[in-house]
């Protein structure tokens, strides 16, 4: 039994509220236990300078925390005048992950901006951000598709992320909260597609290490958690978007 009463392989309570904000093309509030992240998707009718004229689109992400998302107040990065290494690492991860399940050729010369703003943090903010941003992006792209700004729905698979870790007592656990995360010897973030392929795998043994056998166990636990997350995403997105994604996935598998 874990500190918050969960089983080793149990996710926290997950909730994804779509259309949380009025202005963005897509937006959700994702709640994973006490972690809450607002994810918005904005369509910008331009691509960055290095991509102009190539006829394809771009997806990029920004991540931030409210100063008092955490137990101790953090100084704003805008006040410090620079973005921390941790923030940059996370936003690069989110952007890279989402680009793996979108056919960039099919969105035209547009940029999708994903803004993930943590309003309350209790561990797992980067994986919640990926899981929520996927939904916000899928909704925003569906709007483009609906009004025929793009000819084909460009999302090729579902995408979600979770964490697994090895606690001090060697217990392998799924979806670590903040207290578990700060004590875990090994911490691994797994980003996966709905078809069970890895997109990103980041395992870290801070002042600790892990064996090949432990790696295998960690990945098995992660995969089971991710399957639950895909079910939640499908429910939120509804049948129409889900079917469009399945269709694209079929096409892709047919090709390979």
């Amino acid at each position: 039994m874990r500190i918050d009463g969960r089983e080793s392989m149990q996710l926290r309570t997950i909730h994804i509220e779509p259309d949380f904000l009025k202005h963005p093309e897509g937006s959700v509030l994702i709640t994973v236990g006490d972690t809450k992240v607002i994810c918005t998707a904005s369509i910008d009718e331009r691509v960055p300078p290095f991509m102009r004229g190539e006829g394809k689109g771009w997806i990029t992400a920004e991540y931030s925390m409210l100063p008092r998302a955490t137990e101790q107040r953090n100084i704003r990065e805008s006040s410090k005048g620079k973005v921390s290494g941790r923030t940059m690492e996370i936003q690069r991860l989110i952007g890279r992950a989402l680009r793996a399940v979108v056919d960039l050729e099919n969105i035209g010369e547009r940029t999708i901006w994903l803004d993930c703003d943590v309003i309350q943090a209790d561990g797992g903010t980067r994986t919640a951000a990926i899981t929520g941003a996927f939904v916000a992006m899928a909704i925003a792209l569906y709007k483009l598709y609906e009004k025929k700004s793009i000819g084909k729905y460009p999302v090729t698979d579902f995408l979600a992320a979770t964490s697994v870790g090895i606690l001090e007592n060697k217990q392998i656990v799924l979806d670590l909260n903040y207290v578990e995360d700060s004590k875990a010897g090994v911490d691994m973030n797994v980003v996966m597609t709905g078809s069970g392929e890895f997109v990103e795998l980041q395992g870290t043994g801070e002042e600790s290490t892990f064996s090949y056998g432990e790696l295998q166990d960690l990945l098995k636990v992660a995969q089971e958690g991710l399957m639950e997350l895909f079910e939640i995403q499908k429910e939120v997105l509804g049948d129409e978007i889900t079917n469009l994604i399945y269709q694209n996935r079929g096409d892709k598998e047919g090709k390979s």
Copy 2:
């Protein structure tokens, strides 16, 4: 009749949800029409260097917008590496206003940080921030008082803010939304105490001007709106805090 169907002197629908977040000592989500601001109050057991050893406290505020709080996505100030003039002006205003209704001698060498993060913007974000931050601060200070960290509840009066303006058709209106605000010839923010005293008055005629008579009309309208805001604040804060504030106000008036 106004663009959103309101009367000239009618506020938008206001809602203040207390204890919106888990970690801060005080927090609210304030909703003013489509404008939504998360206000948190954090107690820091230190004062800034220039105040050390004086035995009194400090109150300071920070203000920010999510990139997609607005119709067009804004670049984050942390990405730009600097805070805009507009942001600085607003956060200086919020801090100054709140300091007017707290007896800084009574809070000890502590800093109260007020973070006002706009998650959805439709005009009037700075006045909503002041009105909400007051409630978050009153709650946070009550916690200090309850656990006897401070001997006397230090809030000396209610504090709220609203806007008034003169539209292109010369109509004087209360609580401008974004569309009205961007077209108004004169825009005035009024910060007032529960006893009806001015704390801050900022009237601006951008590419326009206003006469003494118009000023008198604007202030009358503002005052009526503010009285409604104080009623909402009292309801959210409850009888115990409200009575403590009334008592302090009485003491102050007795003295002067």
Copy 3:
């Protein structure tokens, strides 16, 4: 009697020296008691990117202090690598105020830069800057008009600013010097046109408040001081420019 021997409603000695510098299109040294500000107006034959192609001009201001304008040396903002909130607030105010008395349609796609550099500070630097910058700008625009770069002289009214405040002893005073300003409970900056219309009104009760009655008294005192400032501006600008402004003011009043 005030600390420097003035009556409550007496301005300090004011002097405006036109053409103080060789290079700028317009420049003055304005002296208000011991406060001295160099104001220059520069004509830039471009507008900022967001205004290109609209066929109208822009007016913007920058404000700074020499490090030793004050009693204690201040660190340069260029050394700190960022501009303070106070500076930004003041330069936004100056720009906004001046735009209220210029017909931007009549200056073509040009930017007027107003640089206000305080070389000696003794309170009231922002109001001195506005009063002096108006003169520098009026001269610079007259040069454009004289050489027929613009068809119509675009200044539509005089513009000046002063401060009023309530001292600790409740005395209402005009044009506060530094010692008065740092002790005043209420401080108000009033920017007005030559026709007596308000352009900007900023009243602040730092750790204090003010009633509606006090506001009325403050405004009355401010207005009397401002009338003296307009007389000085007219004298410095001379009959030709003064008459052009009167003519434009008449046109505007005729229209409204």
Copy 4:
């Protein structure tokens, strides 16, 4: 056969030149094919503020490239005034990895700074930096140990890193050079201890994904390459340091 004539599982030519510079406590020039990195270890007799008084040490890394380490000249990060996300991600990785094989309790309140400066880049700069920085650090710590500034040699295991990837033709390859890296669908960096435990695993499918079976193959190839790197490190460090590390590793394994 690969573009540079190597077999799939063949490392590039590796050379580590110890004591490359005069001033640092430890320094190497590591050459991996055409990639060349100067790694220096500096002992600072202080720890960062957040660790003072805890009686343990800290290890931190910085990474940079000469502007012309690459085919196209890069703008210096000092000229841009900020460090890129990529740089931050890499230096966080290097520091984290090295902390996994040092007993921080045994180095006293000291900081080991590892500076990894790429003077020529041809892919794999971050893994070369880790492999080289380990040697520089082991040398620097040996000097502290030799002059009895610390009682026990604190390095608990060898540490090296390499990359593996899946090329467009699905070929799995070891130690990717720049051309391979920029075309690979999957890229994985593996940091491992001399005992074969993982310290860090970062697998990324940029615009691509990888299956569980592919992951297993990648890790097998990586491990074989790493074993060769440990042999080179041992040779450079010599018997005395190698034996001290073996002894610490034995102690650690005995304990666990």
Copy 5:
């Protein structure tokens, strides 16, 4: 005959107005032709951290230009968020030069800040700044000496600077104005003590070179100009300060 009617070896009209500002311990407005620089000397009762406890003082300088000191408006360095290379080079030069004629042991643990702000520029701003800053500093140190904060007047010699150059027509000229400076093939700044010793010599042939013979001619012309500057400094400083400096110079020469 030169462009402004001067002879080759003729300085422009020089004027030094002492006590130009109210707050600083020493201040002058130095006018060299159309170049005008406000130089202030501020006494800070601390030294920089790297000098604490050594019992001696420090002298440092900052240099800046008003945006419209020049024919074209320059962007403020505070707006750009960084100080240019040119500015840094000049302020390092001014500080270094002044430290050569002050006995730092005799000023106690104090910093003398010299702020040189160019309000109008027409070439030679750095040499005017040195010549003026010397006077401001001598006055400020005299005040310290007068009120017995320091036991011995610490200025050991006069110090002034001027420029010499070789024009396109090979003519050697003294004290170049802006037009001459921008066309000169060789430009040399010479900083000299009242006894005729060099403190700093900076000769530059931008896209040009100069021979040993030309160097000798340039130095001769510079020296004659500098002798005139020392006479002006003596007149402004008055007999009392002048005699104190002569006395110190005698002491120094006696020693060497």
Copy 6:
């Protein structure tokens, strides 16, 4: 005899290794005693905006030190977010010096970037950088000439730099190392062309001064050292480039 056993007029051991790096158009590792600098020349097929359309080229330099080039580790300028005054002064000097021996009209609208990165410092890094950068640049420009991208080899003379100084014991010495440099009363950097003309002369008496007689002695010593440096440059560049330079020098002298 000097601290490192050299005679007063003896250079340290100099070595210039051409083609040190793979990617740059020109590169050297220059070793002057224990000072080691990597100099690279990069050809950029554009000029800075202020020079576009003029049909001529530009040469600019950047200078940096590895953090552990020195005895104490220095903080990276990229981490500090700004370039120091010393760095800016040096890179401006390098660029200016090299521009004196290249016919910018003959290189077309190209920029030559010279990057001088000090990997080990023991005094004289800026003069080593100039001497080495000249060779890197001469090689890079020869490649352009060889492939007929430019019609005429544009280097018009050799260029080298060294330092001379006056030690505490009044001894005049050539090519100061770090220990000598930090104790010298007078320090002078001399940049000269192969024909013996001065390009730049920077003599500084930090807390000291120097007479005209001392200046003459210093320059004589510098010139002898520089002649040795030109011989080394010729050897490294080879007969072909050397002859092209001689030819251009002859042309230039013929003209003047």
